[in-house]
Each structure stands twice: as structure tokens, then as C-alpha cells.
């Protein structure tokens, strides 16, 4: 029981491009990535798409679908109305390479700026002991599949100037996962404030809304980091945030 659906797909490269229309047969149960593959095999062999797992696990297939940043492999066709045209375009926060593929290397550069774990010594019997309740939070952050949907949504990064001053939500949770890691012996607070720009985030929570892993980026990572910064430096913005939004302090 397949139906014919209208797709508008952005085609082009760094020099520019525009939307091309395609009529595609869609079978029940299909996700947007399946439809794009069908276009690729039958109508546009060189349509550039990035994907790997088609199971929501690798974070490669990010794009903007009807204006919303999404994983195309986890977006089922039945979330759209029966006659809705589906518009697909590359992430806006990063430069286009071709069609739906963007250059996300900026993110890899940010990641490399973060110093790795500095482990405390092992116990006398050669083991590292950590308790589940102490790692639950860190594990939440480590669910991240680096799809960069949050980066794409964050207005600080979308305005390209911001990319010099803020690492973005993805790397705030990575910093949080180290800062809250029971084995980490490093002090990361000064650079979280200065180099990584924790003060740039104004807690709009847009990143949290798009995260396909449902990581509570803002409340569980960014706000606690801001609080740790405040504890040390008395950052007035968060102080205000605490007053205005009644965000309580977690120990």
C-alpha cells in the first residue's frame, strides 16, 4: 500500500543551491531516511546524505526536516499530515559541503580542546570503585551520540560569531561529564568559565528540546556547571537566573 509523497530537498554546495521537488513512493513504516535513499537510488544517484546506522545510534543523519532539526532515520513518515510536503535541508549552524551534508569539523576541534580524564589512583587491590548512584548523572551525559542537533539549535552558535566564544551544549555536557566524574582529579571550573564560555548560555532550553537521547542538557549539565562557576566567581547572570527562575542549587 504505497502512496506518493512530495519532497522538497535542498541541493547545492558551498556556492549555493535551491530546493528541488521529488515525487516518491512511500511504504508504511518508512522513515525520512528511507525515502531519501529511494530518491538516491532511483532519481538522484549523487544526492549527498550522511548516515551510518539507520537505528538512531550514531548521530550521522542530522538534518532539518520541515524546519526542525531531527535525525532522519528516526523520523517516521506518519508524523506528517497525509498531504504535507516534506522539506529537507542541511543543518544551518554549519557550512554546507553538498546537499544535505555539512562540515561539522568545528565540533571535533572543540572536543579536542577539552582535556581528557585525569584518573585518581586505583585502590590497593588495583580496582577503581565507583557507585551507581554517583555515575548515573555522568552516564546520562555519555549517552550523547554527537548528532549536533543541539548545536544546530543553539542561537549562540547559529549566530556564527558565537562559535568563537561558546563550545555549545554538546560540549557543555561533555565538560559536565568530566567535572562530575568520580575519578577525575582535574580542576575544570576556570576554563569552563573562560575558555568554554559557560556564561554565553542564557538557559533557553532549546537544545534540550531537540536532543534525540533526551539528555536534560540545560537543567542537569549547564545550570549545575554555571552554579559551580558562580560558587567560585559570583557570576551575576546566573545569580539573577536563580532569583528569576527559582532554580535551586543541587549539591
Amino acid at each position: 500500500m504505497s502512496t506518493t509523497r512530495k519532497f522538497k530537498i535542498w541541493r547545492g554546495d558551498a556556492q549555493g543551491g535551491d530546493f528541488k521537488e521529488f515525487d516518491v513512493d512511500v511504504d508504511p513504516g518508512m522513515v525520512v531516511l528511507d525515502v531519501l535513499h529511494r530518491v538516491q537510488a532511483r532519481q538522484a544517484n549523487d544526492l549527498a546524505i550522511r548516515w551510518n546506522c539507520k537505528a538512531g545510534k550514531c548521530g550521522s543523519c542530522s538534518m532539518e526536516i520541515n524546519g526542525r532539526p531531527r535525525l532522519s532515520c528516526m523520523t517516521r513518515m506518519n508524523v506528517f499530515g497525509p498531504d504535507e510536503t516534506i522539506t529537507v535541508q542541511p543543518l544551518k549552524a554549519f557550512p554546507v559541503i553538498k546537499d544535505l551534508v555539512t562540515d561539522v569539523s568545528w565540533n571535533y576541534r572543540q572536543n579536542k580542546r577539552i582535556r581528557p580524564l585525569k584518573p585518581k589512583p586505583r585502590d590497593a587491590d588495583g580496582e577503581h570503585r565507583m557507585y551507581q548512584e554517583d555515575v548515573d548523572r555522568v552516564q546520562e551525559f555519555r549517552k550523547c551520540i554527537e548528532c549536533y542537533l543541539c548545536q544546530d539549535t543553539c542561537h549562540v552558535l547559529r549566530d556564527r560569531g558565537g562559535q568563537d566564544r561558546f563550545v555549545g551544549p554538546r560540549f557543555m555536557i561533555r565538560l559536565a561529564s568530566l567535572e562530575m566524574h568520580p575519578l577525575d582529579a582535574d580542576d575544570r571550573i576556570p576554563e569552563i568559565r573562560k575558555e568554554f564560555g559557560s556564561g554565553m548560555c542564557n538557559i533557553t532550553r532549546c537544545c534540550t528540546e531537540v536532543c534525540p537521547e533526551h539528555i536534560n542538557i540545560t537543567d542537569n549539565a549547564i545550570i549545575p556547571l554555571k552554579e559551580r562557576v558562580v560558587d567560585r566567581y559570583f557570576d551575576p547572570i546566573v545569580y539573577l537566573g536563580q532569583k528569576l527562575f527559582g532554580i535551586s542549587k543541587r549539591r
Binding site: 550522511r50 517516521r76 579536542k112 580524564l117
Partner: protein, 618 residues
């Protein structure tokens, strides 16, 4: 077109690793730690390799949950699971070294689930006698790859992302480098290297129903084959018993064995728990024979035997297939996998969050309330490039292979969780082996320009041709051929038909055409991958035809059961001087006597120390 090789972008290095999954990253970390200049290539972005999908865990006999576990029991389980065809030495090295490799990941930031005592928790899995799999919920592969990635980027390794290897270059017999191309620009890059490590994974994309990602096109087996190395055990392709079957567009996506490890049971359409009917003799003594005993095991009774759902994958996959064939399948042609009636909803959501999410999003099934529908899906290549057990070197000097693209560790059937541990154990050994080799070389080998030109022409002709075959449609045809001729059960006529089909497609593939330019062109990439797929598929079909018995993942309708004669041989394929694929039975290396004794022992004798007490522990 005239080509000037001196104008190509050229990189000079000691070690080149092709592949950035668990095996490739671990190998690169090792060779770099040994002080050698190391370059890593991957078809995808860093952190996206197939390893990221692994769910259930990595096996290592740390004994954190059950103190009775140790390397000997792990080794014995691995050999039995592999139906005694594993390379003895590899299974030994793996069982002995896995615990140290897993613990080392903690130093690099990995955060595994914990036991009450604060140690790394371990879960049950098929074929493993004790809870043995270190895990993080059902996303263990992500934890492994992110840990290696975040550690690796600080080790001075050079990463070339979205850069695909096209051909291995040689200087006489020795390896001398790699020709590759950047997908982003379509430009070629010449990497001159003293040693090359293949870590490219498997080739599941030759089949339609598979758990594998697009990367799994057998590039490593193809590159090695063309360079004169040997392929081994290709007939052993693992069909995982539980892939999704519905909706059609997600058919094949994996449902982790962790569901059964955590208590899930298999039912047919009549609600019968059918696995009790399919227990093979070899495992009968160690498997529960009543529902009552299986339930006691689930509730932690250490004297109860394991439920039959946790038999090895080959057995479970064939049993599900048999139920479907007999007309007792689920509505969409699978079996029911039920955990909803066995465990409370919050337990399921905590232990199997990925599965909960996957079924909810893709199939609109709530696994805490309803059973899943599952069926066999092509999952893993036990076979691959033939290597030396201790150094991971192939018969081509300077060429190494590790991880899923290597062969020998898993024999005729891999146990779940033994792959992630394989990656870190043999990745490390390959990194060390390559470093030792590179250091021992005198002057750097140097490939002549002609080889490089041939490789470049071979790639660009696909773009330059006026018209030709659509690579995507050829790939779909190959998937038809493999599903029909080289599936989960096999027979001579179908296999011969399969080989003919592959040969025909091979002819047509000589005339493939990719439209568009060389810049980020998936059609071109698809055409290049077809060459790897075809060679790998042919090796699977030919080896499967040659092995006249049923063993592990290789099932022949016309040769039922294991034949004693055949346990003596591996099947090896190589490129003959006239360019054809030749396959041969080769005698396996003998086992060290203590290993043979442990593998064949009764479990009570091994645990009481009556057997294996004198075996060396390092």
C-alpha cells in the same frame, strides 16, 4: 589522461590504520604509544563507526559478579560456542587479556554500570556460563568508541575522516602504503607507510536483512585479497536470532541479546516457549529442561541451569526459523520475544533503554507491555583476513588485520560480547605487531607509480564513462542473490546458483556508471564498494559450497550435522596468479595440550581444579 604522481597529496608515515572502529582505534593508540607515527583513515566521521551500534556488552572474565569465573571458563565457552573451530591460540589470548583491556578503558574515561560493591557490573549472555559482559545499559559500543576516540585524539594520531581506502600498495612482496580518496572533495591521497593495519569490519550489506550499517561492504577483505593475503572461514556468517521484522523498512535492525540475558523468553504464535524443544546434545547437561528451573535461574539460584533462550546464536536462529517454517510464526513472520511479562516496566526501561526507545519510535510497540516480533538477521562475519594469532600479521609482510575483518578468534560461531573484547585485545596486539615490524624494517618500502595510476584510473573510470549500470540497483540485485542462494540454511544447488549470480553481477559491475562529479558523491562511493562486496560475497559462497557439513553458523541442508573430518580444516581463499579466486582446505594448527584439555573438560572438573590447574596464566 596523464597523471603526475608527484602532484598527488602525499602523506608519509610509519603505520596506517584503515578503520576507526574499536579495533582500529585501539590499534592506533598502541602503535602511537610505541612511538610510531600513526595515521587513521575512516569512511565515516570519527565516532560513527559500526562499533557505535554495539549494545549488550563486552565479555571479560573479571569475576566481579560471579567469582567462579576465570579465563579458562571463558576460553572453554568460546571454543564450545565456536564449535571447536576457533584458532586455539587466539581464543586463549582473548580470554586471558580481555580483563586488563576492559579495566584500562576506565582509566580513559569509560563509565560502565556498577555492582553494589562499586566494581564493573557484568551481565549474562548466550553461551557464557557466568555473568561476564561489562556493559553500559544497552549502549556499550557507544561507550567503547567514545572512550577510545576521546583518548585517541590526544595521542598525536593523525585522523583522516571520510577518507576511503581504495587499494593497498606494495614494494615487491611487502606492503608500502595505501591509495585513498577524500569523500568531501573527491581528491586522491597517497599514504606511504611502513605497515598497514586493516580494521574495516564485516560485509553484512551483501544481504538485505542485516543489522549492519552502510560501511559493511567488506573493504578490508577485498583490499587484503587484492594485495595477496588470504581469507579464511568466510562460510561462517552469523545470523543473529533477534532482528526486528516489522515494519518492513526496519527489518533487520538488531534487538540485543541482552533482552534474553535479562529474562526475555521466546514464544511461538500459540504462546509456547519453544526453545526447550531445540536443546542440542552438547549443551543439554548445562541447560535447564523445565520452565521451573529456568525461572529459578532468573531469580538468582546458582544451582539452576541456564534457560534455553541463552543457547548460542546459531542454535536460537535456526530454532526460530524452524518454528516459522512449521507455520507457528508471528503475524509478520517472526517469533515473539517477551520481556513485558517477566520484568517490571521500570527494570526494562533502566536495563534496556535503547530497545524501549527503538520499538516505541520505529514500530509503535511498548516493550514493557507487549511482546516484540523478531527474526534472524545477518549480523557478523566470523571469517575474514587470515592472520598470525600473536602478531595479527597476514602472509603479506607489513599487512595486519584485526577486529571483525580478521579471522580465527570465533571459529564457526561467535558468542555475544566476544567481539567488543576481541577488538581491544587484538587491536592492541596488531598495533604492537605492526610497530615491531615497522621498527625492524630498513629503508622504507616504496610503491612504483604504475600501481598508483592503475588504482586511480580504476576509480575515475566509473565517473568518466558515458553511461552504464546503476550501482544502487546492482547492489539490490546482489542482495537478492545472497538472500536466495547463501542464506541461513544452504544447499549445493542454491550455492552454485548463488555463485553464478555473483559472477554475472561481477561482469555487469565492470560497466558501472556514477552520475555527477567526484565531490561527496554517494553513487560513486557505492560503485567502489560494490567491488569489495562482490569479492567478499564470492568468498562466502565458495567456502560455503566447499564445507560439506553443518557447523555453527554454517548450515547445509544436504550435509546435516558436524562431521569429525571437517573440524581439522579451515577453508582459505586467495587470488590465484591468473586472477581467479581459489579456495582450499588447510589443516589447522594443533592445540597446546592444556588448551585441548580445558576445552573438552567437564565444567565440574575445571572448577574443582582437577583439570587445567597447571595451565600458564599469562
Amino acid at each position: 589522461m596523464s597523471l603526475d604522481i608527484s602532484e598527488l597529496k602525499t602523506i608519509e608515515t610509519d603505520i596506517t590504520v584503515i578503520g576507526a572502529g574499536g579495533a582500529g582505534l585501539r590499534a592506533a593508540i598502541e602503535s602511537s604509544a610505541q612511538g610510531l607515527k600513526t595515521v587513521v583513515l575512516s569512511k565515516s566521521l570519527l565516532g560513527k563507526a559500526h562499533t557505535v551500534m554495539a549494545e549488550g556488552g563486552m565479555a571479560a572474565a573479571m569475576g566481579n559478579v560471579d567469582k567462579r569465573d576465570n579465563w579458562k571458563v571463558h576460553f572453554r565457552d568460546t571454543m564450545r560456542g565456536g564449535k571447536f573451530l576457533n584458532l586455539w591460540r587466539m581464543a586463549e589470548l582473548h580470554a586471558k587479556q580481555a580483563p586488563a583491556r576492559v579495566k584500562e578503558l576506565e582509566e580513559w574515561g569509560a563509565v560502565f554500570d556498577r555492582t553494589k560493591e562499586g566494581l564493573i557490573s557484568q551481565r549474562n549472555f548466550g553461551g557464557h556460563r557466568y555473568p561476564r559482559l561489562a556493559h553500559v545499559g544497552d549502549r556499550t559500543g557507544l561507550e567503547l568508541i567514545r572512550t577510545l576516540q576521546d583518548h585517541g585524539v590526544h595521542q598525536g594520531i593523525d585522523f583522516l575522516m571520510e577518507c576511503t581506502a581504495l587499494r593497498l600498495l606494495k614494494d615487491g612482496e611487502r606492503v608500502a602504503g595505501v591509495l585513498a580518496y577524500y569523500r568531501e572533495t573527491g581528491r586522491f591521497v597517497l599514504i606511504r607507510s611502513r605497515a598497514v593495519i586493516l580494521a574495516t569490519g564485516g560485509a553484512g550489506k551483501a544481504w538485505r536483512v542485516t543489522s549492519n550499517s552502510w560501511e559493511y561492504t567488506g573493504d578490508g577483505t577485498y583490499l587484503a585479497y587484492e594485495a595477496g593475503a588470504e581469507l579464511m572461514d568466510l562460510e561462517f556468517t552469523q545470523f543473529h536470532p533477534t532482528g526486528m521484522v516489522w515494519p518492513l523498512s526496519v527489518r533487520g535492525i538488531l534487538v540485543t541479546e541482552g533482552v534474553r540475558g535479562d529474562g526475555g523468553i521466546l514464544l511461538n504464535k500459540d504462546g509456547k516457549r519453544f526453545m526447550f524443544d531445540y536443546v542440542p546434545e552438547r549443551f543439554a547437561a548445562e541447560t535447564a529442561d523445565t520452565v521451573d528451573e529456568a525461572t529459578r535461574w532468573l531469580n538468582g539460584d546458582k544451582n539452576a541451569r541456564r534457560p534455553p533462550e541463552l543457547l548460542t546464536r546459531d542454535v536460537v536462529a535456526r530454532s526460530i526459523r524452524a518454528e516459522i517454517k512449521a507455520g507457528r510464526g508471528s503475524p509478520h513472520g517472526g517469533a515473539f520475544l517477551d520481556i513485558a511479562s517477566r520484568r517490571p516496566a521500570d527494570f526494562i526501561k533502566r536495563r534496556l533503554p535503547g530497545m524501549y526507545h527503538q520499538f516505541k519510535e520505529l514500530a509503535e510497540v511498548d516493550i514493557t507491555k507487549e511482546p516484540m516480533e523478531v527474526g534472524p538477521t545477518l549480523h557478523y562475519f566470523m571469517g575474514g583476513v587470515r592472520v598470525d594469532a600473536d602478531t595479527q600479521m597476514t602472509r603479506v609482510p607489513g599487512l595486519f588485520a584485526c577486529g571483525e575483518c580478521g579471522a580465527g578468534m570465533h571459529g564457526a560461531n561467535r558468542l555475544g560480547g566476544n567481539s567488543l573484547s576481541d577488538l581491544i585485545v587484538f587491536g592492541t596486539l596488531a598495533g604492537k605487531g605492526a610497530a615491531d615490524y615497522a621498527r625492524s624494517l630498513g629503508a622504507s618500502p616504496r610503491a612504483d607509480d604504475e600501481q598508483i595510476k592503475v588504482a586511480i584510473r580504476g576509480a575515475t573510470e566509473i565517473l568518466n564513462r558515458e553511461s552504464g549500470e546503476n550501482p544502487y540497483l546492482l547492489h539490490e540485485k546482489l542482495q537478492d542473490v545472497m538472500e536466495e542462494g547463501v542464506g541461513i540454511v544452504r544447499a549445493e544447488d542454491e550455492l552454485k546458483q548463488g555463485i553464478r549470480g555473483i559472477e554475472e553481477l561481477g561482469e555487469r559491475a565492470k560497466n558501472m556508471k556514477a552520475a555527477g562529479t567526484s565531490q561527496y558523491n554517494p553513487g560513486w562511493h557505492e560503485a567502489l564498494s560494490m567491488r569489495s562486496l562482490l569479492v567478499t560475497a564470492e568468498a562466502v559462497a565458495r567456502s560455503a559450497l566447499m564445507r560439506q557439513e553443518s557447523r555453527g553458523a554454517h548450515t547445509r541442508l544436504d550435509y546435516e550435522g558436524e562431521r569429525d573430518e571437517w573440524v581439522k580444516y579451515n577453508i582459505v581463499c586467495r587470488k590465484s596468479p591468473d586472477g581467479h579466486m581459489e579456495c582450499e582446505k588447510v589443516l589447522r594448527p594443533p592445540a597446546a595440550p592444556y588448551l585441548e584439555e580445558i576445552a573438552n573438560s567437564k565444567i565440574e572438573d575445571l572448577e574443582s581444579g582437577k583439570v587445567g590447574a597447571a595451565a600458564p596464566n599469562d
